[in-house]
Amino acid sequence: MNLRPMGEGAVLVEVEDCTEAHALRRALLDAPLPGMRELIPGQASLLIVADPLLLDLNTVAARLPAVARDSPVPGRLHEFSVVYDGEDLGLVARQLGMATQELVRRHTAPLYEVAFLGFVPGFPYLTGLDPALHLPRRSRPRTRVPAGSVALADGYTGIYPQATPGGWHILGRCAARLFDALRVQPALLMPGDRVRFTPGS
C-alpha cells in the first residue's frame, strides 16, 4: 500500500487490486476519517477526498493498515440476461479466432466484479474477463452507443447506462436500467458488486 497526495484535499491510496480498494472503502465508511468527503475506487487505488484543513497524511497512514487487514465482504450478486446480437459480435469473434458461440460461452462463464464506476454515471468497469477476450478499443469510436449495450475493451467488460459516444466492442444488449438519478439508489451496481451474464433472447 502506497500513499500519494493529490493536492491538499485528497490522498491516493495505491493497492494491489480493486478488491483491496473495496475492502478499504467499506472499512473507511464504517470508521470515517476526519472531514472525509468521497471515497472513489479506481482500478488499483482508492482516492480519499477530504476537507483539506482536516486531512492529515500521518493520520491516514496510521489508520489505513488496520482497516486493510479486514476481510473483504463480497458485494451483491446481479444476473443480467443478454441478447448477444451486438454490432461487433461477429467481428470480435473473427479477430479472436473463435466462433461466436465460443465467444458468448466465454463471456457468460465468469463471475465479474464491479471494479469501479466511471466514464458516465453508473458505467461499471467489470473485471474477471477471460484473458482470451482482451482487445484494445475500436480504432474509431462510435458517435453513439445505445443504452444497455454490453461491450468489452481494454481487459474490461461493461454495460452502457445511457446512449453516449463510445469505443468499446458491442457484443449484445440487456434491459437493466443501470442509472436513474430519481431512484434512492441511483446506480444499480456498486463498487464491489458481482455480475453474471446469461444468454437471453
Binding site: 493529490m6 493536492g7 475506487p41 483539506p52 445511457q162
Partner: protein
Amino acid sequence: MIEVLAPGVFTTIQDGGRHGYGHLGVPAAGAADPFNMRVANRLVGNPDGYATLEMTGAGATLRFDTDAHIALAGGMLDAQLDGQPVPAYQTLTAKRGTLLACGRIVAGWRSYLAVAGGIGVPPVLGSRSTDTLSGLGPDAVIAGAVLPIGASAMTGEGAYLRSPPQYGTLTRLRILAGPHQDWFAPASLLTLRESTFRISPQSDRTGVRLEGTALERVRAGELPSMGMVTGAMQVPPSGQAILLLGNHGATGGYPVIANVIGADVHLLAQLGPGAQVRFSDVSLAEALEALSRQEARLQQDIVTADASLLAARALMTLAAGHASLRQAAVTEGRRRIRIRK
C-alpha cells in the same frame, strides 16, 4: 422569474455541485469558479450553494418579471441594468420589468449572476447544476428559457466585496507536486515551472487545456484508472496538459504531474482561450494557509452597506473600471501590433 432574452455564448445553471456520488461515476459539476459563485450568493444573502448562472465568454441578457436583488462576480463584464452601467461585486436591485444586459466578459472568462433566493429549478441528486459531461441536471440556458427564482431570505439593503479580484492575461498558478512525477523526464518537471503556457480553445468545464512545450513522459503504457480531483494536471501522451475543473470525470487514466492548490482554482477557472499561465511551487503549509485566507476573506471582506454607500461604490468602481478597460485595450492593441510584426 427571469426571462432569458439571449444566453450569451455559453450559460449554465451552477451551484455548489453534486458531491458524494464520485464512486458511482457521477461528476461533481457545480460552478467552475466556486469562489466567485459563493461571493455572488453572499452578496444577495444566499447560502453558499444556491444555484447561480455561470456565464462563459460573454454575459446573458435577461428580463426580471419581479423585483429582485442580484449580484455579479467573476470575470469583468460591461453589464448594464436598463441601459445604466452597473458594477460587479455588489448587490444590485432589479425592479420588475428591468432588463439586465451582462455584456461581454472583458477580463477573466466566467461570470456568475446570483439572485436572492437562487435559481429555483428542481435539483437532481441534490444539485441544480448542469453537468456538461454526463447530461445530469438542467439543460444549458437558451433564449426564451424562463428561470424560476426561489424564496429570498435577504435582509438589509445589500453588501459589497472589498478589494475584488482582478483577472489579467498572464496568471501564475501555485502547484503542489503531483502523485506521478516519476512518469516524467526531470527536464519536463523543470519545463513545467519555467515555461509560459497558452490556454487552448479546446478548454471547457471539464478542464483547461494547455498549449506549449510538451511535457515528456519517461514511462510508456497506461495509468490504471483512478479517482480525480479538481486542479489535477493530467498529461496525456501528447504532452499537452489538462488542468481539471469541477465538471471533470470522476475517474481518469492520465498521470498527474502536479495539482493546482485549492485557493487558486478561481484563477484557473478564469483562464480563457489565449490567456497565458505559469506555474510555481508552494509547500503544503502555504497551500493550506492560502485556503484559510480565502475562507477568511469570504467572512471578512463582504461588507454590508446601505443604498447610498452602494451607489457611491458603484460610481467609483465604474470610473476605475473604465480606466482599466482603456488600459486593457491599449495592452491588447500593443500585443496585436507585436503579433503582426
